[in-house]
């Protein structure tokens, strides 16, 4: 197992390098220039100097090489320094955002907690409601519960979050006034009152994303259960005299979870994808809105770094999914 993980991690390096190059090439093709962000009142020669300093005019390969070095060497070194008080990164330039003129990583690390808080808990809520619904729908296939569940799930994954988001925001925040329309990023949970406030401002984005997540996962859980329900070993379990409950909740569920857990793990990076739309609708100041803003102002280092972090997460969670698969299914052996 350990060798399997190590081998996969090694294999991930060329994959990620290739992805980073792709990201760099594509982002570089995008129109727009950071120059447009500099106020018109700034004299052209000053403007040129600023751009020069930012390294905007360097040829693409030079910028790519610099970024690679910064991402893989300077940034880790910087974190090691701040953890152990060493001086590895002294005099080295970290990845700098063109819009903030400060390290990209600082911005990202400041934004990630917001995203995890909202989008992460939405995923968790989604999974927690999806699993029992999926299991029960399969157990009572074609029952009223299953029919209603199918209908809601259909809505959940056919209506995009930017629509449900706006709709829910309109109903609950504007018409009913139950929840605030704007997410207050500066809110610190210190006591009961601020905790309730935090819950209230999280409610809508969590609702929207949880619905979308629960829809897919509950359908997946259901079909995985149904697929296993017709297997021969289920008949064997019944022939032993086990109750239907034990047959379904032990024998069928345990087998169904193998694929469902894998899907859930692979879906985790999509939290950040989902964040992009939802954060903008509910004005949550997270990583998704940071990406959108960076795109708007052609802050290429920021865009490249955020997108690349997404790519790392995708690769990482694929590996985690494979490992979980191996742990859950005794037939799989990694050696």
């Amino acid at each position: 197992m350990i060798t399997f993980i190590l081998r996969r991690l090694l294999l991930a390096i060329p994959t990620l390098l290739f992805i980073s190059l792709m990201i760099f090439l594509i982002v570089d093709l995008a129109p727009g220039s950071p120059a447009s962000q500099i106020p018109l009142t700034v004299p052209p020669e000053v403007k040129a100097k600023i751009l020069e300093q930012m390294g905007v005019n360097d040829p693409m390969p030079v910028r790519y090489a610099l970024w690679l070095r910064q991402f893989f060497i300077v940034e880790p070194a910087y974190w090691i320094d701040s953890l152990f008080g060493t001086t590895l990164s002294e005099g080295q330039q970290r990845i700098v955002s063109w819009q903030f003129r400060g390290p990209v990583m600082d911005v990202i690390l400041e934004r990630i907690p917001q995203t995890l808080m909202v989008v992460g808990s939405a995923y968790l809520v989604g999974v927690l409601i999806a699993l029992p619904i999926g299991i029960y729908s399969a157990y009572r296939q074609y029952s009223a519960f299953d029919q209603v569940g199918s209908f809601v799930a259909m809505l959940g994954f056919s209506v995009p979050t930017f629509f449900t988001g706006v709709l829910i925001s309109y109903i609950f925040a504007i018409k009913l006034g139950w929840f605030p329309t704007v997410y207050d990023t500066t809110l610190k949970v210190t006591d009961w009152e601020s905790f309730v406030k935090q819950l209230r401002q999280m409610a809508m984005p969590v609702m929207v994303l949880a619905l979308a997540n629960a829809a897919t996962i509950s359908r997946f859980m259901r079909s995985s259960m149904l697929e296993n329900m017709t297997q021969d070993y289920v008949r064997t379990a019944r022939a032993k005299g086990l109750s239907e409950r034990t047959v379904v909740l032990k024998h069928v569920l345990r087998n169904s979870l193998i694929s469902v857990v894998t899907v859930i793990a692979i879906g985790i990076p999509s939290i950040f994808g989902g964040a992009i739309v939802t954060e903008n609708i509910f004005k949550v100041n997270g990583i998704g809105s940071a990406l959108i803003n960076a795109i708007n102002v052609s802050d290429l280092p920021m865009v490249q770094t955020i997108v690349f972090i997404f790519a790392i997460l995708v690769v990482l969670f694929n590996l985690i999914a494979d490992v979980l698969y191996g742990l859950l299914d005794p037939r799989i052996r990694y050696d």
Binding site: D232, T236, A239, G241, R254, I258, P330, R331
Partner: protein, 333 residues
């Protein structure tokens, strides 16, 4: 096998219908048979003749719907399994009636250890503690001839060969010392040498444990080797039933006769070619009102189209459902 003893299992007029989108399928039509204590009853018949559905109907193993058990009586001792409440049936399954299925590759749950799967019925029906169940599971694996039993308890099904898995299935079925073991083509999915080993094992276990066995198979050679009595099924009905020697010596029903001709003989004159039974199996869309075999029968006459023959005795413990046979008997008399 004392002839006069009360049967362990007595089935009367069992009728099972499947409701499908294309209409009803009358899979089991008024099947009656009995099983004496310690007896091995062989069940033969071509594919689709209702062998499996009959046995699964006995203990409520068919999903309902689509299956619908329309009538009959299934007496196990003094309980009628057909009308017994679900808990009673569950108490019988795995305890008083053990089941072995055709495909050992898929009949065990791949994610649980073999030991836990054997221990499940023990803990459920016998109220054993984990330690007791473990000891019994070791005993059972040794009984079915799995070497290194204690260690193998922790193995998963995929770590066993097909034959070994079928041994495990047998161990599970026998775990609670059942009165009846139903084996539905337990060797069909195995290669010939393994088949022979499993057959030997079952013969041996029967001697040791003395349970009654219902053995479903396509293989008349197997039947000749192990059965006490044989029941021949066709179109969801029992068409002939006799002690094994009697059936091979004096097959009565035209279908049984045809079936016996399809068996290749190793000894004696080389047959010109292997016989096949001409024609198609019947389509079971309604309750039969005529003989199910008539379309393929060489002895068909008017009565066969008008009336479904009932089983009548033609010898000691030998009965047959055929108008022509009874006619023939009468003609001879």
């Amino acid at each position: 096998m004392p002839d006069g003893a009360l049967p362990v299992l007595d089935v009367k007029d069992l009728k099972t219908v499947f409701r499908t989108r294309g209409g009803e399928v009358h899979a089991v039509n008024n099947v009656s048979f009995h099983l004496q204590p310690g007896e091995l009853l062989g069940v033969v018949g071509e594919s689709g003749s209702g062998k499996s559905v009959t046995m699964m109907s006995l203990i409520g193993l068919l999903p309902q719907p689509p299956a619908d058990i329309r009538g009959g009586q299934v007496m196990l001792g003094d309980i009628d399994l057909r009308t017994a409440p679900a808990e009673v049936l569950r108490g019988v399954r795995g305890k008083r009636i053990g089941f072995v299925f055709q495909d050992p590759m898929t009949s065990l749950n791949p994610v649980f250890t073999v030991g836990s799967q054997i221990m499940e019925p023990l803990r459920l029906h016998m109220g054993m503690t984990k330690a007791q169940a473990t000891e019994r599971a070791v005993e059972l694996l040794e009984l079915v001839g799995i070497p290194d039993a204690r260690k193998r308890l922790k193995s998963y099904p995929h770590q066993f060969s097909g034959g070994m898995r079928q041994r495990v299935m047998i161990a599970i079925a026998l775990a609670c010392d059942p009165e009846v073991l139903i084996a539905d083509e337990p060797t069909t999915a195995l290669d010939v040498t393994i088949q022979a080993q499993i057959l030997e094992l079952v013969k041996d276990l029967r001697k040791k444990l003395g349970m009654a066995i219902i053995w479903i198979t396509h293989d008349l050679g197997v039947i000749a080797g192990i059965a006490d009595r044989v029941m021949v099924m066709y179109g969801g009905q029992v068409v002939e039933q006799a002690p094994v020697k009697d059936l091979f010596a004096r097959p009565q029903h035209p279908y049984t006769r045809a079936l016996l001709k399809t068996v290749p003989h190793l000894t004696g004159a080389r047959q010109a070619r292997l016989q096949v039974i001409e024609g198609q199996p019947p389509i079971l869309t309604a309750h039969p009102t005529a003989c199910a075999f008539r379309a393929r029968c060489t002895h068909r006459f008017e009565r066969c189209d008008a009336e479904n023959p009932l089983r009548r005795p033609v010898g000691h413990g030998h009965d047959v459902a055929c108008h022509w046979v009874v006619n023939a008997e009468v003609a001879h008399a």
